[in-house]
């Protein structure tokens, strides 16, 4: 086995392959198909302070090489998460990262404080400032660098865990948001969340999703996500988690070479629930074949001007 461990600032992972928030639930469902301990980390579904019902159906629709989703942050809320989901997750032995979202700065702060408590066993927090599917799901925080900076500054002091900020791609210049998050205390940036899209059902002449718009994910967005990781890598010094349409080892190598120190797998889990273990095995083989001792040798490699 090649050494697949990665270090993202204060965060150490066994492998660079994480399950992206919202696509792996709280792990329970996938546990019968694969060993959760083999994940680099499991980022749980976006968590809010109070339980959230989510959007009416239909919530998803397939698109060319991708899908739209408008789940609307359906989740059981902090209390149920702490009492029911987290203990089960800890028992499974997986590395748990909690994706949090709030309507107000105070909600983010409360979530960060409660989840940071010793003994919880949470590995890191991911600030979701980029969910396009609820009116106040953080998308406002994510699209304005100054509002984002203010939020991160407030959360930072109460968050004793490694703090990941997840950026939205629905902006003119993602490096501005990246720099704002970095300078206000983020340890790590993750990108990208989904792109705002719409499908119209021509038979009913109405938007297909009940929420009208949804977030586009899957291979369709991969070139856009790779470009953003590439740009952000050049703009900040903190480590990046890349995601957006990864299906194959080659796809994840594109992200590593663009500058991601780890990657997350989202929609690909749906067609192939075994994507993460498969990629882990393939990366191991690839590194051996290419004589790569540590993943660091290829992280950001595409920025070098020599071939």
């Amino acid at each position: 086995m090649a050494d697949l461990r990665v270090k993202l600032g204060p965060l150490e992972l066994q492998t660079p392959f994480m399950a992206a928030s919202g696509t792996f639930g709280f792990g329970e469902e996938y546990a019968s198909l694969l060993d959760l301990q083999k994940l680099g980390a499991l980022v749980v579904k976006g968590l809010t302070l109070r339980p959230r019902k989510g959007n009416p159906p239909p919530r998803i629709v397939e698109t060319p090489a991708g899908m739209l989703n408008a789940i609307g942050l359906q989740n059981p809320g902090l209390d149920v998460f702490l009492s029911r989901e987290l203990p089960r997750l800890k028992k499974s032995g997986t590395a748990v990262i909690v994706n949090i979202a709030g309507d107000t700065e105070e909600e983010y702060v409360t979530l960060a404080r409660e989840l940071s408590r010793a003994g919880n066993g949470v590995l890191a927090l991911e600030l979701n400032v980029s969910c396009p599917n609820v009116k106040k799901g953080g998308i406002l925080f994510g699209t304005s660098p100054s509002i984002l900076a203010s939020l991160v500054e407030k959360v930072r002091p109460v968050c004793t865990l490694p703090l990941i900020v997840k950026l939205t791609p629905n902006v003119t210049d993602i490096t501005e948001a990246a720099r704002a998050a970095e300078s206000s205390g983020a340890d790590i940036l993750s990108l990208v969340n989904t792109f705002l899209g719409m499908v119209i059902d021509v038979a009913s002449r109405r938007p297909f999703l009940a929420n009208e718009t949804g977030g586009l994910s899957g291979p369709a967005i991969r070139p856009l996500a790779v470009r953003m990781v590439y740009d952000v890598y050049a703009a900040v010094k903190i480590p990046l988690i890349g995601m957006g349409g990864i299906l194959t080892l080659e796809d994840s190598l594109q992200f590593f070479m663009a500058g991601a120190a780890a990657v997350a797998i989202g929609s690909a889990n749906f067609p192939d629930p075994l994507t993460i273990p498969r990629l882990t095995g393939e990366l191991n083989k690839y590194m051996k074949k290419e004589g790569i001792d540590s993943l660091e040798e290829i992280i950001g490699a595409a920025h070098q001007n020599t071939v």
Partner: protein, 262 residues
């Protein structure tokens, strides 16, 4: 729940645009019960990107075989309609919470609309094995769309057909046919139904009047198929004044009719 390659043993176009696939997959055949479904990967590339859900229409646990019956709708079912004997398909299943008939049932009524009849075929067989008398109501828009259900049913199941254009059986909706029988003295103990939402909605009205327990199999767009993505949620009553979203793929596809919010 198992993720495995299943081998195509038999393909048949049972009626124009409607196909039956007999598949070999021991885990699924042995463990599945009526109302459950499989989630099938159509292609090992991007087209289509997501899996497609299909109800189990029949199982042969000893032979390790099971059947799905599907209608050609779009890109996914088109590719699926062209598989050949010997092909291996990537299949996740059995999935979901299926029909849970009352233990001491004697007479069961099954109401199916269109391709929704598929899971009822499996249910009919199981109920009859348990000694029930099974009456099936099955409707389609026209005669040419009717699946030859007797082909997949044990002898003794009573089949009542309806077509909207009257080209076969009772002329009108299958729910109207069923209503007629109710008025003529039919006394169902429990009703199991699958079909278009409008059909189920009409049945729910019958329920409200007659207080017969009903179980409905619902459909919704699915991504993961196993309960993780919350993409397939539908609204359900919880108590008097509250509703929650439940997952068709895991909490369902079968729900009690009284739970469903229309």
């Amino acid at each position: 729940m198992f993720l495995s390659g299943v081998r195509v043993m038999e393909t048949e176009e049972v009626v124009d645009g409607c196909f039956s696939l007999l598949l070999e997959g021991k885990n699924i055949a042995v463990n599945a019960y009526p109302g459950q479904f499989i989630h099938m990967r159509i292609a090992d590339n991007l087209l289509p990107f997501l899996r497609r859900p299909f109800s189990l229409a029949e199982t042969f646990p000893e032979e390790g075989l099971f059947r799905i019956i599907f209608r050609l709708i779009g890109a996914g079912t088109k590719i699926l309609s062209r598989v050949r004997r010997g092909d291996v398909l990537d299949c996740l299943g059995p999935l979901g919470t299926g029909f849970k008939p009352c233990e001491d049932l004697r007479l069961s009524i099954l109401v199916g609309g269109g391709i929704g009849v598929a899971p009822l075929l499996f249910l009919a067989k199981k109920l009859q094995e348990k000694g029930n008398k099974v009456i099936m109501y099955y409707g389609a828009s026209q005669s040419a769309d009717l699946i030859p259900v007797h082909q997949f049913l044990p002898p003794g199941v009573e089949i009542n057909l309806a077509t909207e254009d009257g080209s076969s059986g009772f002329p009108g909706f299958v729910t109207d046919l069923f209503q007629t029988h109710l008025q003529n003295g039919l006394l169902p103990e429990e009703i199991f139904a699958c079909g278009p939402r409008l059909m189920l909605q009409k049945l729910a009205e019958v329920h409200r009047n007659k207080k017969i327990p009903m179980q409905f199999s619902l459909e919704e767009m699915m991504a993961c198929g196993i309960g993780a993505c919350l993409g397939c949620s539908v609204e359900m009553q919880r108590g008097e004044n509250e509703t929650v979203f439940k997952r068709v793929c895991r909490d369902g596809p079968v729900f009690k009719s009284c739970e469903v919010v229309w």
